[in-house]
Symmetry: C2
Subunit: 235 residues, 2 copies
């Protein structure tokens, strides 16, 4: 298993700074996870109060991202990290951008939830939302978990889950389009379900990105557009 | 007008390295612009050959991004830039990520084009695509142009254009949904138009991000989630 040895530094303060941005990133990750959960619950239960809450919390997430990003830049400027330390800072900086975008998607879902509640709900699509939401929530949780433990194998496994989510997403799209053809009056409401599914699918994409940032951090290798062979290798 | 003074460095080699990544970024930007143009032309002219070409070129864009990103990381590790130089490298690193995502959207549009050509084309929506495509292409071009000249004022102006694109996008969505209700048999094909519009709208978002990276680079200030007052100030 790949593992980073962060305990080889001369400077203790530097270690603490690195740990600090990692901790902040994971905190932000926890909050973003909760936002996705709340947004999905809001849509499932037609709970506009919860949806409004998601919209309020979104501001905090944006602030966290800017704060952590600033901390990353300062760390690079002041401590001039090299090799794996620099990669650590850059991986955190990239990951928080993905987290912020997941927050954006949660916000979009919350807006869809409010719009759906106002129009009396959709006649179809909640099962699909629940199913795909469960998949992407697990992916996001696993991705952050892998980051906590610098566990590349777990990250590569989690990354693979995105394929199934894309398949489920496409199959749900087809089904809902057929439904709209049969009941055109439902189009506006079913479209809200479609955009929600699209947002969830993007959450999966961002969780996949986070896995790739971790692999880059530990292996020093960018695997995003690589060949399958590159990814399957254990080291 | 804000301007960076890149000529104050001690190291000439360092200046050349900085210029080099900026040049590479702008080259990538030019290629990405062409991808968006080609994808939109492919959909307008039902030109599957051109759409296939877009899919082929996409690989080059991914490679360019990884290459430039690596160059950025090396530059930080080897030259340990501070202040505005560090911000320059980080802004390039963020911008190429947006460019890569714009390339992804061009790829999606090319796929929609192929699918639409196979199904005989959509009965509606091409005017909307042309209109919104013109808007986002101009935004992208202006954003890259502003970056070339480190022109913050131009970047702030370009950033504002995204609002109009969002409005046009929403209005096009409403119109197309009404159309689908009237002609449910067209749903599958009109959905391809909807996804294309969504992709174009995202290109606008990424162009906006690029403007924000430039402002951050020149002013050292993250304006993404800031208040309006922060943005309107000339300095």
């Amino acid at each position: 298993m790949d593992k980073l040895h962060l305990d080889q530094h001369i400077s203790r303060q530097f270690n603490e700074d690195l740990e600090q941005i990692k901790t902040q990133m994971l905190e932000m990750g926890g909050l973003v996870e909760k936002q996705v959960n709340d947004a999905v619950t809001a849509i499932e239960n037609s709970d506009s109060g919860l949806a409004e809450h998601v919209l309020e919390v979104e501001v905090n997430i944006d602030e966290m991202e800017m704060e952590i990003d600033e901390a990353c830049t300062s760390l690079i400027a002041l401590r001039q990290p090299a090799a794996s330390d620099l990669r650590m800072v850059l991986a955190v900086s990239k990951t928080i951008r993905d987290l912020e975008r997941i927050g954006d998607e949660a916000q979009k879902i919350a807006k869809m939830s409010i719009s759906l509640t106002e129009s009396g709900g959709a006649p179809k699509g909640y099962v699909e939302i629940r199913h795909i939401a469960n998949g992407v929530r697990k992916m996001l949780n696993d991705a952050l978990d892998a980051f906590t433990r610098f566990d590349v194998e777990a990250a590569l496994d989690t990354r693979k889950a995105d394929k199934q989510i894309d398949l489920d997403y496409k199959s749900a799209l087809r089904e809902l389009m057929t439904y709209m053809m049969e009941d055109p009056r439902s189009i506006t409401r079913v479209m809200n379900i479609l955009w929600t599914l699209r947002s969830l699918e993007r959450v999966g994409d961002h969780a996949k990105n986070i896995c790739e940032h971790l692999v880059y951090l530990v292996r020093g290798k960018d695997i995003r557009h690589g060949h399958k062979g590159d990814l399957e290798k254990s080291d």
